[in-house]
Amino acid sequence: MKTRLVWLRNSGQTVAVGAANSLPPSSAVVRLDQMSGPVYTVPVPDMILDYMDFNDPMLALSSWIGQIGDFGLDLVWRFIHIVVTLWHIVSGIFESVESYAISLGLIQKYSSIDIEKLKCLAVVVDIEAARDVSKVIELLQWLTTIGVKQVGLFDSQGLLKKSKDMILEMVPRSVLLQETGEKHISPDRIALEFISSSDNKEAVVKAANILLEKYLKSIHPENGVGENVFTESHLNEALRVVGESVHVPDLLLVYGPVRSHLGFPAWRLRYTEIVHMGSLKYMRYGSLLKAIHKFTGVRQNYGV
């Protein structure tokens, strides 16, 4: 009777090694009670294990090579992660240095920006960052210094909306966009708009309701055909009726750990440049200036 050396996986952390005399040749399931002789437990990485016939050295060798190969590839994959992380750290350091140089005015090309090209800027703030209103106020003060005229502030849960009065009070020369309208902003003022997730899909649903009712009212009793109210201009109008702005921001700055617009009104994002700025807590004036300067150099084909 052949003695088989059997390896068992136990919760991915240890393996039991022992001899089994009574297994059928192709058994894939082995219990501890089927093993005879001493049983040793060995801590190993969670790898795919198999049992091997100790009497066939070539099979044993190829199985070993396969397991070592898997382990090696595991190391390589983890190493890729380390390399990419290091790359990001190094590039982050370079960006910090560059940002400080821009803030100090050492880099000539950022000293003058054609701000007229940036008609509407939107800022997306992560909800954790939105709790620190002082940083948001500081950001708005920087934007006022740069000369931005219209800023939409978004956070998914509407925390900035709740702090609207404080922000308007603390940011010099700021007005609420809804009060002035887009066309009546004075040159020395900055118009602020406060947006949350309720202005995204919920608003589109309300606007769709308006269009639905308009469509149903327009159905001819003879032919059952209604007016085509499902066009972009109709939906824009319906959004205005529910109190939403339809102005498309030229540039969207995302402050947070994730490069995602976090539910900013989808209808308004068609051709918006989206730039991830990192954490609001560690925001830098130089990075802000660089992002706006880069935007002024962008040329869009709009698909044509």
Binding site: G72, V84, V205, L212, I219, R259, S260, A266, W267
Partner: protein, 297 residues
Amino acid sequence: MLSLLSIFFTCLALILIPCLFIFRRPSVPLFLKKAIIFIKTATSQYNDEEERYGTIEGKEKRGRMPKHVAIILDGNRRWANKRGLRVSEGHEAGARRLLEHVMDCFAIGINTISLFAFSTENWGRPDGEVNFLMAMFEKNFKSEMAYYDRYKVKISVIGRRTNMPESLLGLIQEVEEATKSYKEKHLIMAIDYSGRFDILQACKRLAEKTKNGLIQVEDLDERMIDKELMTSCSEYPNPDLLIRTSGEQRISNFFLWQSAYTELYFPNVLWPDFGEAEYLKALTWYQQRQRRFGLRV
């Protein structure tokens, strides 16, 4: 011996990994294919852990590999201009890159891939280019139909379809019909697609349902609109990761409604040059991000 071999692999990686980031077309494709296959193994281990533990931590680990990747294939014309080639050759190079990537993506566990092949705004391009693109889509559907059938890839084409040539429409219907029963791999081609039109047509379909008495106006909500969008053909309609090549940092009317919590990745490489190295970088970058879906952690 184990430690010697692991040292050997680490040294090999130290030499070869930098090549991934320096050279556009690494000269060791076999190594990269092994790495890609290995990613699949590594992530299957994470999925095993999640099933075993079933905790919030396990659920977070499930987010390691995106289920739905959307790609805006930008940069074909610039790629051709840089090389002094015709625009059509740029598009052909882009189509070859696409076919190379699709199966690699499915092999590592991605369920759905969406490709923004032609936007509604692209009809404004020169007639010659538009006709070439339509002919190229037709040619690729014909030549690759057997391939998708063999590898059980479900094909869906989303978009307006009103301006497409009849021959292409017929072919699209044929491919969709032939592959509709496949579930695990789904390739969505967005041809003549517009994110705004997608939202409007969803509203229109709901209007028709209301007219026919199937739903009431007051029942209309976000979920109903979700179900009427063109991406409702997919098990995972909202992309986890959206890649736009060529360095442009905007989504250009693609998946406006669906991309609320999508990770946006804008590599500075043109689509025909988007190779395995760039793809590995995108996935590694995705795995390092923390997604909270608007909730507090």
